[in-house]
């Protein structure tokens, strides 16, 4: 579609204005985290930190136990993502490539759990975690969310396109079903597993509800839980809070930059259809 010059200019102006609005909040947070306490609360607020200081970052690690929360979040994110890729690809493989009694029921069952908001079953989940002895362990944040229906569904759809002949040939050669899965299916799934890994990384790193239900011991807090706990108190230490927020955004930013194409363009051209 061709645009007239005037329409084009208007479009750019509008986009720039909106983009500025969308960028500003994050920029403000990042810049504020480098301000001294005096600067932080000065009114009128100053946009640029003067002088630049890293004191909030060091304070967050020294006093705020932030290193601990960061490690907890890293453990949860990495292990849950690995577990998710493994068990979702196994289930997706079975549902795509085998005809067995209950397959359709299972698929519909998995997908329909997407409709159940975690928020409405959080109280019984808490009970289940306690009964299983998972309450107050990082396992409570790693295992349950790994069986995501989204992953199973995406992998099944992806694997439906893999020709049966490939598997049959392997079976002729006497390969076991597990071998077929690990040597043929997994390598084929690489692209979709990469997309899922990115999603899982984001979900777990940013998660609030599972940690809220599963953890009460402060030494096991994830970053999100620690941040929320900071706000709950009366004297908000904005300096540390801003610094912690900024550090917390970095891993997601890195993933975003690395996989930007898959994220935005990929979702546009293929992923969401």
């Amino acid at each position: 579609m061709e645009l007239k010059a005037s329409a084009r200019t208007a479009l750019y102006l509008l986009l720039f204005a909106m983009a500025a609005l969308w960028l500003f909040p994050v920029l403000w947070i990042v810049l504020s985290s480098f301000k001294t306490n005096n600067d932080l609360y000065s009114f009128p607020p100053r946009f640029w930190p003067e002088p630049f200081t890293f004191e909030h970052f060091t304070a967050a690690f020294e006093k705020g136990n932030f290193g601990r929360y960061f490690i907890n979040s890293a453990i949860v994110t990495v292990s849950s993502t690995i577990l998710l890729l493994l068990i979702n690809s196994m289930a997706g493989f079975a549902l795509a490539k085998y005809q067995f009694t209950g397959a359709t029921v299972l698929l519909v069952g998995f997908v329909s759990t997407l409709m159940v908001p975690l928020e409405v079953i959080m109280i019984p989940i808490f009970k289940v975690l306690s009964v299983l002895g998972l309450f107050n362990t990082l396992l409570a944040l790693i295992i349950p969310p790994a069986a995501t229906p989204t992953g199973v569904f995406l992998l099944r759809q992806y694997l439906l396109t893999v020709p049966e002949e490939l598997l049959e040939a392997a079976r002729m050669d006497g390969a076991s079903e597990w071998r077929i899965y690990s040597r043929i299916i997994l390598p084929i799934c690489k692209p979709i597993l990469a997309v899922l890994a990115i999603f899982s990384f984001m979900w777990r790193w940013d998660d609030f509800l599972w940690p809220l239900i599963g953890i009460s011991d402060p030494s096991l807090y994830t970053i999100q839980l620690a941040l929320s706990n900071f706000i709950g108190e009366y004297n908000v230490d904005w300096g540390s809070l801003l610094a912690m927020s900024v550090i917390t955004m970095i891993p997601v930013l890195v993933v975003f930059i690395l996989f930007q194409r898959q994220f935005v363009s990929g979702m546009v051209t293929s992923g969401m259809k």
Binding site: L3, V26, A91, L106, L241, F263
Partner: protein, 301 residues
């Protein structure tokens, strides 16, 4: 539907032999086990709880529909629900229209498309807690927003301690953080519309608004339905962002339904009551989803 077709295809080709029929079950087992333990069983337990009085420590006491009748007389529950509904009523159309508008702008042949897409998409990657904190900082008494107000010669406002402005803040933060996600979905939908339609319309000399109303909107309907459904469900589940931005205050003015249920269950230790509320919320969300589904099907043929 894709399911029966693929099932047929699988039936034709499979022949791993009868001795191996247990193998697919083994592959599904880990997922199934986790699903059952953490989704299915909790749903059943929640339903059972909802008919009991239970504080989590002492034995449960069966009260029949007691919790439900009590909820129907509970003004706090209904006002929390009403606040959530009002929030949804504003946020859902706002996000739908804005993200569609941005998506339409960003599928035009313009420069820096990728950069703009990234800028709008970026907030969706930030956790709700940090989104909440960010806007809390901006709307704070010493925040930028109040500074801008004074620049314009207006009195600084206590955004987060005034009922109306606290809700406005919540709405702004929600739109800011979710727009990018739905923008991407709309872009996918827009690009799926065959170009021939637009070509034909242009040959007929149709005006831009007319093309939008008679081609884009109708063909975009499946995408729009999906977006409305997702934003609506999201709106009814809103909690972490609110928690970080306003904490549900001032008073209970931004306490929406999920936070209210959470507080009833965990702070007041009324697990039975909170479970009954969850059942009601679940029924509401399912009703919306079913309604949407029905409406979209009715319109497609």
């Amino acid at each position: 539907m894709a399911v029966p077709a693929s099932a047929l295809k699988a039936r034709r080709v499979r022949k791993p032999g009868q001795t191996k029929t247990w193998i697919p079950y083994l592959f599904v087992l880990p997922n199934l086990l986790i699903f059952t333990t953490f989704i299915v069983i909790p749903m059943v337990i929640g339903f059972i709880y909802s008919f009991h009085e239970y504080d989590g420590l002492n034995p449960m006491e069966f009260v029949g529909f007691g919790n439900y009748t009590e909820i129907f007389a509970n003004d706090e529950f209904w006002s929390a629900l009403a606040r959530t509904a009002l929030y949804a009523l504003i946020v859902v159309p706002a996000i739908c229209c804005l993200s569609l508008a941005v998506a339409m702008m960003l599928i035009q042949p313009i420069r820096c498309k990728g950069l703009f897409r990234s800028i709008f998409y970026w907030p969706t990657m930030i956790s709700y807690i940090i989104v909440g904190l960010t806007w809390k900082w901006i709307f704070g008494d010493f925040g930028v927003f109040n500074y801008l107000m004074t620049l314009l010669g207006m009195e600084p406002l206590h955004f987060l301690s005034d009922s109306f402005y606290a809700n406005v803040s919540v709405i702004i933060a929600t739109i800011w953080s979710r727009l990018g996600f739905y923008m991407v979905i709309f872009m996918a939908g827009l690009q799926a519309i065959p170009n021939d339609y637009y070509e034909a319309a242009r040959l007929d000399g149709a005006s831009k608004p007319r093309v939008f109303l008679t081609i884009t909107l109708p063909l975009l309907k499946p995408t729009t339905v999906l977006v409305v459904m997702l934003t609506l469900i999201e709106a009814f589940k809103a909690y972490p962002l609110l928690f970080a931005l306003t904490g549900g205050g001032p008073g209970q003015d931004t306490t929406y339904i999920v936070q209210y249920i959470y507080e009833t269950g965990f702070a007041k230790q009324e697990l039975g009551m909170a479970s009954a509320m969850s059942v009601i919320l679940f029924v509401l969300i399912s009703m919306f989803t079913a309604l949407q589904f029905k409406l979209s099907k009715g319109g497609s043929d």
